[in-house]
Symmetry: C2
Subunit: 442 residues, 2 copies
């Protein structure tokens, strides 16, 4: 393994060390005890949504498939595990041959979820499944947090354009995944070139204060930018005096100026003034882009302002107050022996506290009311009732170790818009509340 | 570029696309305008600490050096930029030859910082410096947030061991950087194998509930684990009944059992009961590890409990409420022409709102009181007074494009402990407050 995720990979490197040590030592102990081959079912779910949120958004499923496919222990990794004595010789040999050969079902990316929704189900031998815990959770917990924040922001923005600009506020590779999840959640573009390279997300850019400050005058800076990038460019107008900058911008670029960006001050007030000024200067088609610590509430508060696009950074990539979901990966059923025909038995932790969970291999379906609006998330390990057969949420993603559900990112984005539109209207209230539909565990 | 950061790289790939698009288009416009070669100074600083925090911790400096060294535009990247028409031909040719050739000074990793501290200063031509904005901020904003949370947790833990276990709660590569930053901030080990592989951080592991549930009884599970991993292992005792599990654990492993882990319930109460039970069973040396949504406050509240080690996940990797710092990368001085001898002029944004900043190329020093305790962070673009010459904080990191300040991670960890110890005692209060020393901007 000579590197990391995929960040930008054309070739995808190994993901096998994105793993907590105990997963390997559990494999070692289970191999020795003869229990490693017991057929097992693990499920990913969360016991709660982040406080006040009405729905969750599944993000990262496509990245999970990449990670599973590239979960391989190559010589460098095996050498490390040997040298550090993390596992013994038989386990190293088992790891060297590791390929996930089981099945994965899950909520397709972009789908909404609720407490208890089995968003992913991983089935195979105990050893092959337990190894995937950390990397699967890393991806789903991160990407779903960003997708959920993005979804709320896209609701708040109405039809206006949303630009992801948060790369500088998070780890450089989180940023790439965040741009991807934001796109699923409804954003239109990103400033992050790596995200454009890796995932084909449309990239955009404006200009920084540094560019204006580099030049001997704002006029020089604007002229340099327009000369090189054309009149359709976006000029940053708040380095010195906004009104003067807008005047200069239109003087330099003409009324064909693409857009101006405002990055400070009272955005509501300034946007109104700038729009009026642009119109007076005949620049009717020049757009206004606002940035500056926006979140879904700030975006909503600008609904009445003449804003054409929002650039969102910090609050997007940090999940707008909830940078991670609380998804867990739990063994819910396993066989009593290594016999492939041995029946699965439900299992669940039963200790003190709130961490107990529902055992058994589960299906989930979204029940609709008479108007076709979602009214409940039904989760059960029992039989699927006839009226819910067609409303089931889990799709086959990996079959016998082969990925069977790759899709373009656009499909996840469209799925999310459709899934959100199928929820009760109160789903899109930004105010705090309960999950918009209840989860019925049967 | 066939990948990302380093995650785990032995060979480090290109970091050139961890860049916002506007940096490249600004380079293009500046190249055409003849201003790209103006000597420029950019500084990284924050206007404020996260609310209530007493000090910040510089994390990621070592990763910044790697990123700068590997900031190269290879054919795949150039092809992408050409195909997407992000920049023009002359700019592509300039990028193909790009090597940072300037100087970087900064607070060494692990040092504490305050509002206005110039934690990094990048100097060279405008074009070569402006390109580094996003990747530098990504790394410093992320890693410093984690290092600061880790530092507070290590204060709370006193001398007890701290294990980083947050990989599953954040992006898989953020997790690697987080384990690294946590180590700088005072953590002792990590569960993340990638962090062990990449940075040599000690790795540890226990066991999951799934392992107990896989087996036909808790006793079978404990026996399997002890048989394979030895009596020094850590057994997880809260899958069913804790008291029974502790009895079984000592019955299986004997009083030489390494440790037990408690992951749920009222940790204070349960730890006391488990300690008493272990002692009654003669397992005086068996340690108690607690996990379960710990943060610095929960750790502090367990100070009186018989706990030997804390495993911290979510709250560590999300910066304990502050997953990012608000560091910015600002042009503070630049020459008036491309002449290398042209003098630098201070520059600063001067618009409405709170985003203005102090121009000029700055030094910083920490002034001590008569007892040798820090009393002020002094930041200025003027002359360094004689009494502060030896107290300066910026160190040379890159000279003429060459990295000159690589150091083992251990050095940053030790530096942090020393820097924190040099602050007034109130620095280590967990309660909310102002920065523990004022920043004097001269």
């Amino acid at each position: 393994m000579d590197t990391a995720d995929l960040g930008l990979p054309v070739e995808v490197p190994s993901t096998a060390l994105f793993t907590d040590q105990y997963e390997l030592t559990m494999v070692q102990a289970a191999l020795r005890a003869g229990t490693a081959d017991r057929r097992s079912v693990f499920e990913v779910f969360t016991r709660r949504l982040p406080e006040g949120r009405r729905y969750g958004v599944v993000g990262g499923t496509g990245r999970v498939l990449d990670a599973v496919e590239n979960f391989r222990f190559d010589d460098a990794v095996l050498g490390f595990l040997r040298e550090m004595r993390i596992v013994d010789g038989p386990t190293l040999r088992w790891l060297a041959d590791y390929r996930f050969s089981g099945d994965i079902w899950g909520y397709p990316e972009g789908e909404v979820y609720f407490p208890g929704s089995p968003v992913l189900r991983v089935e195979g031998s105990f050893a092959e499944c337990v190894l995937l815990e950390t990397v699967i959770l890393s991806i789903l917990n991160h990407d779903s947090a960003i997708a959920a924040a993005a979804s709320r922001m896209s609701v708040a923005a109405g039809g206006r354009r949303l630009i992801e600009m948060g790369a500088r506020r998070t780890h450089e590779l989180s940023a790439v995944a965040a741009a991807r999840a934001a796109y699923v959640g409804g954003f239109d573009s990103t400033s992050d070139l790596a995200a454009g390279f890796r995932y084909g997300i449309p990239t955009v850019g404006t200009s920084a204060h540094a560019f204006t400050l580099l030049h001997d005058s704002e006029r020089d800076a604007f002229r340099a930018q327009v000369d090189s990038l054309g009149r359709g460019t976006t000029l940053l107008v708040d380095t010195y005096d906004v009104a003067e900058a807008v005047r200069t911008a239109v003087a330099v670029a003409g009324p064909e100026l693409g857009a101006v960006r405002i990055d400070s001050g009272d955005l509501l007030l300034v946007a109104h003034r700038v729009r009026q000024q642009l119109d007076e200067l005949g620049a009717y088609d020049t757009k206004i882009v606002v940035t500056s610590d926006l979140d879904e509430y700030a975006i909503a508060s600008l609904a009445a302002a003449p804003v054409d696009a929002y650039g969102v950074g910090t609050q997007l990539v940090t999940g707008s107050g909830h940078p991670t979901c609380s998804m867990v990966y739990k063994l819910v059923a396993r066989a009593g022996s290594a016999d492939v025909a041995a029946p699965l038995r439900p299992v669940a932790k039963k200790s003190l506290g709130a961490k107990s969970s529902l055992g058994g291999r589960k299906w989930a379906a979204r029940r609709l009311d008479e108007y076709g609006v979602a009214e409940a998330e039904v989760v059960s390990a029992g039989e699927v009732p006839a009226d819910l057969v067609d409303r089931q949420l889990l799709a086959e993603l990996v079959k016998g170790g082969e990925i069977v559900a790759r899709e373009p990112l656009e499909a996840a984005r469209e799925r999310h818009a459709a899934a959100r539109a199928g929820l009760p209207l109160s789903a899109i209230q930004l105010s705090r509340g309960e999950p918009v539909i209840p989860t019925e565990c049967r």
